[in-house]
């Protein structure tokens, strides 16, 4: 099984059109990190307009041209484009590709002892379709009227009558969804079929379980949005009325060219059928990463490993039947809302179980405060805040006041920004030595963590107060409202937090590139970890393992009583 009977492939085959899951993982990772930074930059621009509405943007105000920012002052249409693209880029081009495309691709096959993904060519196709989707999205900024500006949710009829950028957005989304589908088929088959001998389902690292369930969510939840995207394309290009009722009057012009008979609510149902499972696509792999790192750094088996897995399965299943809690305000009666509010309350329980298991895992451990561990630990309270603030939004009555306010923004950003993105950072610091054979610099890492932790809270914590005050989201200038003006100071605080958070990423960017060539060289298993990926050489060669490993025990056998070492890898034959 060693790779030596292969012809050494050329540069292009090896690094560009590679079928090796590790190269694809790195491609995904680097591309997605760039998109993540781009998405964040869009938000930093918006934060200027929010904090100082109508004022000229200093330094860079003039580079966006007269169409977007005449005289350095942002136009509302450009603001809306930035908002829509921030959401789209962060979710579909940044976080999901990082969690699934990068970590899933790189780490999962190693953790199950597989030589590669089950369908390597499909894997490559998945990356290139993703990149194509990303390029389409980027190009849309340069079409007349700018990029999509109807929010990342693209509610029709607004999106139906929007400028050309929306069509590009739809094409981009179709590419991204296709890419995710290819990826998810590949992941499920790989996890089920390619596990090495001895690696039963209940010996799998929790991260692999999280990837498996995430893949099912991608597989079954994404196609409805693909269909909805096709329907919206039909509406925009073929003049159909899937989402348009009859008798619309846009800017005083009666829309006689369309037949009517459709409903805007149809889009919302199809969209949220995707987008609620999508939330769990964003969070489950993050939990997986955090669980790996916590087990490794507490030097203790995960508490309630099986309960966590059952909870995750349940979470994945339930995530398909909570979607309409995004739609309580769309004219929903008592029956459907009761169903969805109930499922929403039920789905909070497995999340509580997982979070509890992770925090009890700390009890009686021997906690090493390494950089990845700090990010993983920070994930716990941040995710707790994000999860708890979901309760008032999940109950229809309290949602009346909080729906579509900054409270919502605060809630889901706590889940995905200091939650998921911290988990992503944790994962990067944790697996960087495996990918490069070198570690990231610790001092820069601590600096990155502490600054990020403070400032990210400074960005999102004020939003709860703004939302409580009733300020709507997606406002270009909230000071036109008395209740918005009263909390403008909080907006300014958020904005400064965002810009400082941007600066706080500098240590990370420096660290990421410098350490790849100048970092401290480390052994194959620098963290004294137990799972299979640490058996492979760093970086692993094509085919991953020198000999096919065999697994003898569960994934987190740390501090086994009577053992000489405090870790007992899965592949070691001897009893402790």
């Amino acid at each position: 099984m060693s790779g030596d009977h292969h012809h050494e492939p050329g540069f292009i085959r090896k690094y560009v059109f590679s079928v090796d899951h590790k190269v694809i993982g790195v491609q995904y990772g680097v591309t997605a990190l760039c998109f993540l930074f781009l998405g964040f930059s869009l938000m930093m621009l918006m934060r200027w307009q929010l904090a100082y509405p109508g004022e000229e943007m200093p330094f860079i105000g003039n580079i966006f041209g007269e169409d977007a920012m005449p005289g350095g002052v942002m136009l509302p249409e450009f603001y809306n484009s930035l908002g829509a693209m921030h959401g789209t880029i962060m979710i579909f081009l940044g976080v999901v590709p990082l969690l699934v495309g990068a970590f899933g691709n790189y780490v999962m096959p190693l953790q199950i002892g597989a030589p590669d993904m089950a369908f390597p060519k499909l894997n490559m196709a998945s990356y290139w379709v993703y990149l194509l989707g990303g390029i389409v999205m980027l190009c849309s900024f340069f079409v007349p009227g700018g990029a999509a500006n109807s929010g990342w949710t693209s509610y029709p009829p607004l999106s139906n009558i929007a400028t050309t950028g929306q069509t590009w957005w739809l094409f981009g989304m179709v590419c991204l969804i296709t890419s995710s589908l290819l990826g998810s088929v590949n992941f499920i088959v790989t996890i089920i079929q390619l596990r090495v001998e001895g690696l039963t389902m209940f010996r799998l690292p929790y991260f692999v379980w999280a990837q498996l369930i995430t893949s099912f969510l991608l597989l079954l939840a994404f196609p409805p949005l693909e269909a909805a995207g096709v329907l919206q394309l039909m509406d925009r290009l073929a003049g159909t009325s899937f989402f348009m009722p009859e008798g619309l009057v846009v800017s005083g012009v009666v829309q006689t060219q369309m037949s009517g008979g459709g409903s805007p609510l149809l889009w919302q149902h199809l969209f949220w059928f995707l987008a609620h499972p999508e939330v769990y696509v964003l969070i489950l792999p993050a939990m997986g990463i955090v669980a790996e790192i916590i087990a490794n750094n507490t030097r203790k088996p995960l508490w309630g490993y099986r309960a966590m897995i059952y909870s995750t399965i349940f979470l994945g299943f339930m995530s398909f039947i909570v979607w309409a809690h995004h739609m309580f305000m769309t004219g929903m009666g008592t029956k459907i809302s009761a169903f969805f509010a109930t499922t929403t309350m039920i789905i909070s329980i497995p999340s509580v179980v997982i979070l509890t298991a992770l925090v009890i895992s700390l009890y009686q451990g021997a906690i090493r405060f390494t950089v990845p561990m700090l990010f993983a630990l920070a994930f716990l309270p941040m995710f707790a805040i994000g999860g708890l603030t979901g309760l008032p939004l999940g109950l229809p009555a309290s949602d009346i006041h909080l729906h579509d306010t900054y409270y919502v923004i605060g809630h889901f950003h706590y889940v995905v920004a200091p939650g998921t993105i911290f988990a992503i950072f944790a994962g990067i610091y944790h697996w960087y030595p495996k990918v490069t054979g070198r570690t990231l610099n610790n001092a820069l890492g601590y600096m990155h963590f502490f600054l990020s932790f403070v400032f990210i809270n400074m960005v999102f914590m004020p939003m709860f107060w703004q939302g409580m005050a009733g300020v709507s989201r997606r406002l270009y200038d909230q000071t036109v409202y008395a209740h918005g003006d009263a909390v403008q100071s909080l907006t300014i605080m958020s904005s400064w937090g965002a810009w400082m958070l941007g600066l706080a990423q500098i240590p990370f960017i420096i660290n990421f590139f410098i350490s790849a060539v100048a970092g401290k060289k480390v052994s194959n298993n620098p963290w004294d970890a137990t799972t299979l990926e640490w058996l492979a050489p760093s970086p692993p060669p094509h085919g991953n393992f020198e000999t096919v490993p065999v697994v003898y025990r569960g994934p987190y056998e740390y501090s086994v009583p009577g053992a000489s070492e405090d870790f007992h890898p899965q592949h070691v034959t001897t009893e402790a």
């Binding site: 390619l194 269909a227 199809l270």
Partner: protein, 206 residues
């Protein structure tokens, strides 16, 4: 290259009883079910939301301008092509490459006939009558569902032609692998047939 290294590309996994491709195609079909499921959901949603009378009422019977004879003929063609597809697989399974290939060719011809009837007689006729997707939501969903289905047929034809032509080299290298791939193609093909079995009554007859 990686095919030799990866386990279970050809032989089934001892525990799951599946080779990778077969499991993969079933998962893909599951996602296809959800894709068409969203369109069926749209159909139900629009139909239930349509008023009893008026310009946006749901057309039935004659009002649909759909020719059930052409639709029925296409149903038969597609069912027949499913049979030839599965017979092709049987022939490959019995090591009878030449016969299997003939069945594949028949399948491809039937599929092309289906698409030809769809485009040449049905769509062209309707365009001639000034019936376009934008005419009403019924025709919007009709064109979208049948169009997406036709794209699936065309995709299937491309794959079948590949296995008749350049893909047949694999038969020489690894017969079981080739037969497996035909089986996967067949699963996809039957699924496309299965979708049409539902599309035909809900669009043409109801």
């Amino acid at each position: 290259m990686s095919a030799e290294v990866l386990p279970y590309t050809v032989k089934p996994h001892p525990v799951t009883g599946l080779y990778n491709g077969k499991f993969g195609i079933w998962l893909f079909l599951a996602s296809e079910v959800m894709l068409f499921g969203a369109l069926f959901s749209t159909y139900v949603f629009l139909r239930m939301g349509a008023p009893e009378t008026g310009p946006t009422a749901w057309p039935t019977g004659e009002e649909t301008h759909l020719n059930w004879m052409l639709g029925g003929l296409n149903t038969l063609i597609l069912i027949l092509s499913s049979v030839t597809m599965v017979l092709a697989w049987v022939q490959f399974k019995m090591d009878n490459f030449a016969k299997g290939r003939i069945y594949l060719i028949i399948t491809a011809i039937l599929a092309i006939a289906f698409v030809a009837i769809k485009f040449k007689f049905e769509y062209a006729h309707k365009f001639h009558m000034d019936i376009y997707p934008k005419t009403s939501v019924f025709f919007a969903i009709y064109y979208t569902m049948t169009g997406l289905h036709a794209i699936h047929i065309i995709g299937g034809v491309v794959v079948i032609c590949y296995f008749i032509g350049p893909g047949a080299k694999l038969w020489e290298e690894n017969r079981e692998y080739y037969t497996n791939r035909i089986e996967c193609t067949g699963l996809y093909w039957h699924f496309v047939d299965l979708v049409w079995i539902f599309l035909f009554p809900i669009l043409y007859l109801l």
